[in-house]
C-alpha cells in the first residue's frame, strides 16, 4: 500500500480504486456516546448518534451546525482520532479498521485534517519547515526528500521557505500559521482533507485569502474536502453539497444551492434566517427561533428539534423522523415528518 510518489498527484491517481463514480467515503450509522457523571448517576452525551452520509470524489461537503451538534466529533470519528462506538466507514470501497479492509494508518495517509486553533496544533519547539517535513519522514521518506517536500509545500501555500521555514510558530501570524497547518496536511499527499473550522479563528481579510488558497490547492492536488464550519456564508461559498447537523444527527443533506434556496428542514430555515442581514435598512426584527440548543445529554425524544420547532406536533415527539434515502450528488433529503406523506403531521407533503 505504499503509494507515496514524489511527483504531483496525477489526475488518474493510482490510489483511486473504484473510479470517479465510487464515493470516496461512506459513513454508515456512526455513533459515539461519551459517558459523563450527572446528578443521577451516569449519563451519556450523544455526540454523534447514527450519522450516515456519502462523500463523493472531488467534491467539497460542508458540515454546518451549532456548538454541541457533534460536527467536530464526527470529524474525529472519520479519522479514528476518536473510536466510534458503532457504525461503519468505507474509504474508496474498503472498510476501515476491519479484517480485509484498510488500516487506520493507511487511512490517515490518505485523509488529513486541519484544525481550528492554528497555534496549538503546531509544535511550538519545532521550526515550521521541520513540522511540515515530519509527516513525509514518518511515512518513509528520507530526511532530504522530506525537507524538499516541506519546502515545496510551504511555497505552495504562499510562504517563502527561505523566509519562513526556520521560524517557530510564535513568530507567525494566525493566517501564516494556518497556512503551515495546511502545508503539513498536504505534505503526505492526502486524497481528502478534513477542515474543522479551519478559517473560523482568522480575521475576515485573512480568511478570504485562506479560502482562495484552499480552492486553488483543491484543484492543484485533486482533493476532496470535508469543510466543517458554523459560518453559513463561508460554507455556501466553498461547498458543493451541505450537511446540516443538530444534536448529533443529520437533519438535512443536499446540493448547496438547493439547501440555501429551498431549505426543507425548519432548523435549516432557522439557521439561514439567523444570519445577520448585512443591510442596516432591512434588519431582522424577530428571531427565527427562540431558546438555546438543548444539551446533547438526554436529547428530546422523537425529533430532536421539536422543542424549538414552530411546527412541532405530537408525531414529532412520538417518532424519530428518518433522513430519506439519497442516491447521488443531486439528492436533497431532510429528516422531518413534514417531508413525508402520511407521516401523521398536519403539514406533511401531500396534505392540503
Amino acid at each position: 500500500m505504499n503509494m507515496i510518489s514524489s511527483a504531483a498527484p496525477p489526475l488518474d491517481d493510482p490510489r483511486d480504486r473504484g473510479g470517479p463514480a465510487q464515493p470516496l467515503l461512506i459513513a454508515r450509522e456512526l455513533r459515539k456516546h461519551f459517558k459523563v457523571k450527572s446528578d443521577s448517576g451516569t449519563a451519556f452525551v450523544r455526540a454523534v448518534d447514527g450519522v450516515s452520509f456519502t462523500l463523493f470524489k472531488g467534491e467539497t461537503l460542508g458540515i454546518v451546525g451549532e456548538s454541541g451538534c457533534g460536527k467536530s466529533t464526527l470529524a474525529r470519528l472519520l479519522l479514528h482520532l476518536v473510536r466510534p462506538d458503532s457504525g461503519e466507514l468505507v474509504f474508496d470501497g474498503e472498510t476501515v479498521a476491519e479484517m480485509r479492509g484498510i488500516t487506520v494508518n493507511a487511512l490517515r495517509r490518505q485523509v488529513q485534517m486541519v484544525f481550528q486553533d492554528s497555534y496549538s496544533s503546531l509544535n511550538p519547539r519545532m521550526p515550521v519547515q521541520d513540522t511540515v517535513a515530519f509527516g513525509p519522514f514518518v511515512h518513509g521518506k528520507s530526511k532530504a526528500e522530506s525537507k524538499a517536500v516541506a519546502r515545496s509545500m510551504l511555497l505552495q501555500v504562499g510562504l517563502n521557505p527561505d523566509l519562513f521555514g526556520s521560524r517557530y510558530p510564535h513568530e507567525l501570524s494566525g493566517g501564516q500559521k494556518q497556512r503551515v497547518n495546511i502545508a503539513r496536511a498536504l505534505a503526505i499527499e492526502p486524497r481528502m482533507v478534513i477542515l474543522d473550522e479551519a478559517v473560523s479563528a482568522l480575521d475576515k481579510s485573512v480568511e478570504a485569502q485562506v479560502l482562495n488558497l484552499l480552492r486553488a490547492l483543491k484543484a492543484d492536488f485533486n482533493l476532496t474536502y470535508l469543510f466543517i464550519s458554523h459560518d453559513l456564508n463561508v460554507v455556501q461559498y466553498i461547498s458543493d453539497r451541505v450537511l446540516v447537523m443538530y444534536l448529533g444527527a443529520v437533519v438535512e443533506l443536499g446540493p448547496v444551492d438547493e439547501i440555501f434556496s429551498h431549505p426543507l428542514h425548519p432548523y435549516t430555515r432557522a439557521l439561514l434566517g439567523s444570519r445577520p442581514s448585512m443591510n442596516p435598512k432591512q434588519r431582522i426584527e424577530e428571531p427565527p427561533i427562540t431558546g438555546d440548543p438543548p444539551s446533547p445529554i438526554d436529547p428530546p425524544s422523537g425529533c430532536r428539534f421539536r422543542t424549538r420547532c414552530p411546527f412541532a406536533e405530537p408525531v414529532c415527539e412520538a417518532r424519530i423522523p428518518e433522513l430519506g434515502a439519497w442516491t447521488d450528488r443531486e439528492s436533497h433529503v431532510a429528516a422531518c415528518h413534514m417531508q413525508v406523506a402520511d407521516s401523521g403531521h398536519s403539514r406533511a407533503v401531500g396534505n392540503a
Partner: protein, 356 residues
C-alpha cells in the same frame, strides 16, 4: 464605606477647549486617545490618536480586526487596562467626567453605575462561585444601596427584562448551570442593573451560536432603545454591525480610518481598507471565483509603518501615503475617512464615488 452619595460630581465645564462641536450634548467624548503598552522588550502602540463622540441613546460600532485596537479603546473608557504597563494619553469624558483623572473611588462609582460593560465570554466574566442572583443583587446594593430583598426583587425584574425563562429559579443558578445564551442574558441583566447611561459591549455575541446570536442582538437593540443608553459596541463582524449600529467607526492599526452612519459606510465605503473588508467578507460571492481578498496581514503594532498604516496592503497606494498619517477628511455630512484619495472639502456624494 466612605460617603459616595455625592455621586457623579462634575469636574466642571472644561469642555470648552474641546475640538468637538456642541460638546455638551455628547455622552462620550474621546479626543486624541493613545494607548501604549510598555514592556522591557518593546512598546506596543495599540491605540494611536483616536477621537470620537457618542450622543445619548446612540449606538456606535467600532469595527476592526484583531489587533486593531478596538477592545483596548473600549477598555480605556472604563480604565480597565493594567495601570503599570499602560500609558494612556488624550482625553476621555463620559457624561462630563474626566475619566482619566478619576481616583479609585471615582472609578468604582463609574464602573457598573454610570458605565457598564458586557464581555464576549460570560463564563469568565461572571464569578463561578456565586449565583446569578447574588451577583446582580451585590451590584445593585453596592451602587444603589437598599436592602438585599429589594435588590433581589429588582434582579428578578431584570432577568425577566432580558427574557430568561423561569427567571425566579434562574436567580439561584450558578453560571455553569446556564446555557451560553442564558449566561449572556444574565450578564446583560447585571450590566443594566444600575441603569447605566453608557453600555460598553465587547463582542458580546461572537461566542454565541448563530440562532442565539440573533436573539441576543435583537434583545440588546430593543433594550438599548427602550432604556435610551448610549452604546459602544465592538465587533469584527460586519453583519453584526449592520444589525445594531447607528454609526460605525472602522479601526485599523490603532486608528479610526473611517466613520459614518452605518448604512452609508456599508453602501459607499470611502477608505480602501473598508472597501477591502467589505469585499473580503464572504457573503454570497460567486462560488467559481476567488474572493477579492486584501493581501498581506495587519502591521506589527511594535513597529508601525510611517504614514498610512494600511499603505503596505493598499492596492491604490501612492508615494504620498507613506509621507505622513493622513488627516481626517470629511467630504460628506457625518462621514470621515483618513485617506489622501478622499477629497478634503465637502463635495457631493456622486463626486466622492467617482474619486475613490
Amino acid at each position: 464605606m466612605p460617603e459616595m452619595d455625592g455621586g457623579l460630581q462634575s469636574t466642571g465645564s472644561s469642555a470648552t477647549g474641546s475640538g468637538l462641536a456642541a460638546g455638551s450634548s455628547n455622552l462620550v467624548e474621546v479626543e486624541d486617545l493613545s494607548v501604549r503598552f510598555v514592556t522591557r522588550e518593546a512598546t506596543v502602540h495599540a491605540v494611536n490618536g483616536v477621537s470620537f463622540a457618542v450622543r445619548p441613546g446612540e449606538v456606535l460600532c467600532i469595527l476592526g480586526e484583531s489587533g486593531s485596537g478596538k477592545s483596548v479603546t473600549l477598555r480605556a473608557l472604563m480604565q480597565l487596562l493594567p495601570p503599570r504597563r499602560t500609558r494612556i494619553t488624550g482625553r476621555i469624558r463620559v457624561d462630563g467626567q474626566d475619566v482619566l483623572s478619576l481616583d479609585r473611588a471615582g472609578l468604582r462609582r463609574l464602573r457598573g453605575g454610570l458605565v457598564s460593560m458586557i464581555f464576549q465570554e460570560p463564563m469568565t466574566a461572571l464569578d463561578p462561585v456565586y449565583t446569578i442572583g447574588k451577583q446582580i443583587t451585590e451590584t445593585i446594593v453596592r451602587h444603589r444601596g437598599g436592602s438585599q430583598a429589594s435588590a433581589r426583587a429588582r434582579a428578578l425584574d431584570l432577568l425577566e427584562l432580558v427574557k430568561i425563562p423561569s427567571a425566579a429559579q434562574r436567580l439561584d443558578n450558578y453560571p455553569h448551570e446556564l446555557s451560553g445564551g442564558l449566561r449572556q442574558r444574565a450578564m446583560i441583566a447585571m450590566a443594566l442593573s444600575c441603569g447605566p447611561r453608557l453600555l460598553l459591549a465587547d463582542e458580546p455575541t461572537t461566542a454565541l451560536d448563530a440562532t442565539v446570536q440573533i436573539q441576543v442582538l435583537i434583545l440588546l437593540r430593543k433594550l438599548q432603545k427602550e432604556l435610551g443608553m448610549g452604546t459602544i459596541f465592538v465587533t469584527h463582524d460586519l453583519g453584526v454591525a449592520s444589525e445594531i449600529a447607528d454609526r460605525i467607526a472602522v479601526m485599523y492599526a490603532g486608528r479610526i480610518v473611517e466613520e459614518g452612519p452605518v448604512a452609508d459606510v456599508l453602501a459607499n465605503p470611502l477608505h480602501p481598507y473598508t472597501q477591502g473588508l467589505l469585499a473580503s467578507t464572504v457573503h454570497g460571492q460567486p462560488r467559481d471565483q476567488d474572493i477579492n481578498a486584501i493581501p498581506g496581514s495587519p502591521p506589527d503594532l511594535r513597529r508601525l509603518p510611517t504614514g498610512c498604516a494600511f499603505a503596505p496592503r493598499c492596492v491604490q497606494v501612492m508615494a504620498e501615503c507613506r509621507a505622513g498619517v493622513p488627516e481626517e477628511r470629511r467630504p460628506l455630512a457625518g462621514r470621515m475617512a483618513r485617506c489622501i484619495r478622499v477629497p478634503a472639502g465637502a463635495v457631493l456624494a456622486d463626486a466622492v464615488a467617482d474619486r475613490v
